[in-house]
């Protein structure tokens, strides 16, 4: 009983196997390898993307924090400046008010003085007139009215103590 070696069968089986090799390579191995490569590429891409997103987020976080810090500093500066300006304005207003008050007081004083002078003058004139009248009555028109007035004026001028300086 032989082993069954047979050239035709051998060649047939060899060709069959080679056909299987070709079929599996083109139907199986190549598309699967392509798909696996594609998948690992996709996974790599997603990972990179995730990493980039994370990085971006990290950067944004830092930037936002920076901005917040800057904003806070700016706000503080503005507040400080505002306080300063306010103080200055207050001071200025106070100063101005003080000056104005002084001016008003001064003016009032001057006016008062003026009014007093006026009153004194009026009084004096009235006094003079009354004196003249009285004197006239007393000496009954012995003296020239005009001359008399001048005389009294002179006396008053010399002793002008009623008029305030």
């Amino acid at each position: 009983m032989g082993l069954g070696l047979d050239l035709a069968t051998f060649v047939g089986q060899l060709v069959s196997f080679l056909i299987l090799l070709g079929l599996l390579t083109f139907v199986g191995y190549k598309p699967i390898r392509k798909m696996l490569d594609q998948r690992s590429e996709k996974i790599r891409e997603s990972m990179e993307q995730a990493e980039a997103t994370r990085q971006e987020y990290e950067n944004a976080k830092v930037a936002v924090q920076e901005q917040i810090k800057k904003g806070r500093e700016e706000g503080q500066a503005i507040i400080a400046q505002a306080t300063q300006t306010g103080n200055r304005l207050k001071e200025e207003a106070r100063e101005e008010a003080r000056k104005e008050a002084q001016v008003i007081v001064e003016r009032a004083r001057v006016e008062l003085q003026h009014e007093r002078d006026q009153i004194v003058d009026d009084l004096r004139r009235e006094f003079v007139d009354t004196a003249i009248l009285a004197a006239g009555k007393v000496i009954s028109e012995t003296l020239d009215k005009k001359k008399h007035r001048e005389l009294i004026e002179e006396v008053l001028q010399e002793s002008a103590t009623l008029r305030g300086k």
């Binding site: 070696l5 069968t9 069959s16 196997f17 299987l20 090799l21 079929l23 191995y29």
Partner: protein, 307 residues
Amino acid sequence: MAKKAGCGLSLNLLVIIILAGLALVVISFVGGTVGAMIFGGEPMSIFAVHAPAPELPAEHPFAGIPITNTMITAWVSILALTGLFFAGTRKMKVVPGGLQSVVEFIFEVASNFIEDAAGKEKARWFFPVVVTIFLFVVTNAWFSLVPGMESIHLDGAPLFRNANTDINVPLALALVSFIAVEYWGFKAKGGAYIKTFLNFGALGNALVKLFTGKIKAGLSGLFSGFVAAFVGILEILSHLIRILSFTFRLFGNMTAGAILTMIMIFIVPWVIPSIFYGLEAFFGFVQAMIFGGLTLGFACAAVMPEE
């Protein structure tokens, strides 16, 4: 209440199952052909298995047509494998499902195995041949274990027979493996690969020294030169012998397994053959691993750079 004894069964049930199995073994043995010979009388018809008459050459199920049953089985294997991979890769998605995950699983396990041995670059060379050999051998082996497959007879010959038991199939695979290994050797090393087999350089150098008067250096070089040349010849032999060892390892294991199963069915038709079916399934896988693995190993050795 009975305790759980194993396999989730109560002790009583387990004992009953074992006893029933033993009873079937004994009954089928006594009632079978061998039992009838020993105890006299006629074998019971359901146990009357024909005495195994294994044929080493492949049979021709179609009278007058030179197609053997092993060829038909090989074609069925080819169709099954191609169909599996075709169906699995027809509508590939990045997120796999169904058959695609099956073929991708096969691919990835094989790919990792080969990459571990050969490295990423060479793995791409070896992959198709090594994996196809493995898949072809294991599919042939398992297809023949499908119950009833080898019972279909046409023209007095079984229609299907494990293609690995036809010596032409292992021989064809061995030849493919051999040619592929030598091709990869030349591809990796170029013309220098021939030095693995025909290594007369050192011997020539020694002879030149000898004839130019450097007797001492020449003589010592002569010996190592002879050794190198002899190793080359051994290498030629070993590569050629691989074809034979590949062929007869697969052929012998598969044929012996088939005959052993036939004999067991003949002697004890029930229960015991199931055990041998399981063993055969395992051996088919192991033989496929060995064929593919050895091809891979020889390929790695052939492309390994010499220091």
